[in-house]
Symmetry: C2
Subunit: 378 residues, 2 copies
Amino acid sequence: MENFTVNNPTRLVFGKGVCDQIPSHIKNYGEKALLVYGKGSIKNNGIYNEIKQQLENAGKIIFEFEGIKSNPLVSDVENAIALGIKNSVDFVIAVGGGSVIDSAKIIALCIPENHNPWQVMKFKAKPTKALPLITVLTLAATGTEMNQFSVLQNPITKEKVGFGSPLIYPTISYCDPSFTLSVSKDYTSYGIADIIAHSLEAYFGDGDAVLSDRFVVSIIREMAEAGPKLLNNLNNYLLRSRVLWASTCALNGLTFYGRKSGDWGVHDIGHVISLLYDTPHGASLSIVFPAWMKYNSEKLNAKLLWLGQEVFYVKTIEETITSFENLFTELNSPTRLSQIGISDSMKKEITDLLIKNNATGMTVKLDNNALEEIVKLM
Amino acid sequence: MENFTVNNPTRLVFGKGVCDQIPSHIKNYGEKALLVYGKGSIKNNGIYNEIKQQLENAGKIIFEFEGIKSNPLVSDVENAIALGIKNSVDFVIAVGGGSVIDSAKIIALCIPENHNPWQVMKFKAKPTKALPLITVLTLAATGTEMNQFSVLQNPITKEKVGFGSPLIYPTISYCDPSFTLSVSKDYTSYGIADIIAHSLEAYFGDGDAVLSDRFVVSIIREMAEAGPKLLNNLNNYLLRSRVLWASTCALNGLTFYGRKSGDWGVHDIGHVISLLYDTPHGASLSIVFPAWMKYNSEKLNAKLLWLGQEVFYVKTIEETITSFENLFTELNSPTRLSQIGISDSMKKEITDLLIKNNATGMTVKLDNNALEEIVKLM
């Protein structure tokens, strides 16, 4: 078990109607808010109006940046930073899913010292402070609402890059499960696949951290029970709550304490698929994980056996991998590239970009041959 | 699932050698430290010298209060408050187990405004601030190192009372598993029994919080695996780490998110046994829980079945309760009053004090008849 520190500064406010607390919570964060959101779905489901009303109740002046993409682009982040600087905003409020919040983290980080966001993402610029960041979550998936990570993509360099800094923990995150009630069946599926994938990236990381392993089991079993029920009953508040809280726990540190690191090789590969085909993040991960497990099954023998036993009560590696494939299938998330229209002839393009982008994983190292074989298995 | 807020401000620093970080962490907490500890065992195992050295390295002036009892007394807390006020200490540093840290929490809370600690414990005085509190944990058990609770006893009024306030979260807690290596086999057992009991108090609380239930399962399974191994190998660092980290997770909020409350009826009863016979806290709980489960088995039918299935893979309520009895026995913690020398003729004294002290539980209400029957089953 590795040494670790628990010190997550995000205040997470969870439950029905919690956004009513926004005015009292944000009264000391200055007058000018930069409101960041996506492609407008929050205007259809009433969330935009509700949050705007809360900001107005708090007496804030609102500047808006609309149009963050679901695979978020650094160019949008650049434009939002410029808007924030021009208007001397005092804090950032993000309303949306992972892409919006990941973007807002970098926006809040770059405004005070006018940093270039891609330089920051590539660790070439080093901000020393950030604006306060308020988030209002509308999708259960990435866990970004309570962690220090952000992933953005750059279509010019064909890269999807992850960044981490204690400066980008959200200050306060509001998680109202009723704000996720209107998420489509597909995106509900991909979100749950993402939650499971995060749990697995932690589990296959480096280090002997048995209680963290058990929390991984808890989260995956929770998704295996609540996930399929939710897909048949998208309007159920309790099931939405269970998935939303699991999404936070899957990437707020809980499953990582005592490890040197996670693995993230599957995310490396998934990011490349999303870059090439704009595949939803969670869908890319449910395709990669079974192939990655099959390719690494000898190396991960003991870990796969323990996981299969604890999560699915099965006895062999084959059953473990099949159980995960069946779970993703039950969750309506793809497990093969063919299911998202990618033919065998396109696999070389994927492998080439994986090698170019250095998708090596962290704990389970992937060389060029491994990448090629994993893509073949997908 | 109930609304909740996650906002635990304690910085927990876990692992081998973490106390080396004390001087850099505490440099801004003022010059005068009140060092609080127990009956001197830390002087035998070197921890006292090590922490004193760290404080001296940080240039602090140290005032010492020695002698907190393992069932901590409010009179000691009063005397420590007086010492702290007389010397205008700037912060409190507690070195010990739950009793020392629980005492130090109230000491740090009462010094700034010279409050009477029993008035505070009974919610009759309302402090508005506290001194910074540093804790160095030497026993895996109560979880007090990362929560807002304290339990003290008053031998004059024959009460053992719990208190909670956000003002008493420790500021920084150092958890070095090697500091627990010298804990005796008995107290290691009682600590593990306490961890299991905290998990169960959460589980039997009020509210539909399935992921929190699963975290309870994770912690109990972790103790069922690591606990007996540790008792046969008390010097094993990794096993000490696993038990120490489980002790924090069992009462730092994790198993309570989404519930209205825990239950705490078993703690109510255990406190009375400790008051009367100075029984170690964990030992009292492993005696009460099986009896409490038996008495309430009809009412808790579904919860006991689910728990038995998830923790022990058993199918009936009887097997669930027997499995817990067997687990406590394997952990060397008593499950009957007779094992700690309390005869049937003394049971009336217990029941009388339970009724006098209003030991009613929170979720599973216990009337006088219930208390009498539970004591009979112990």
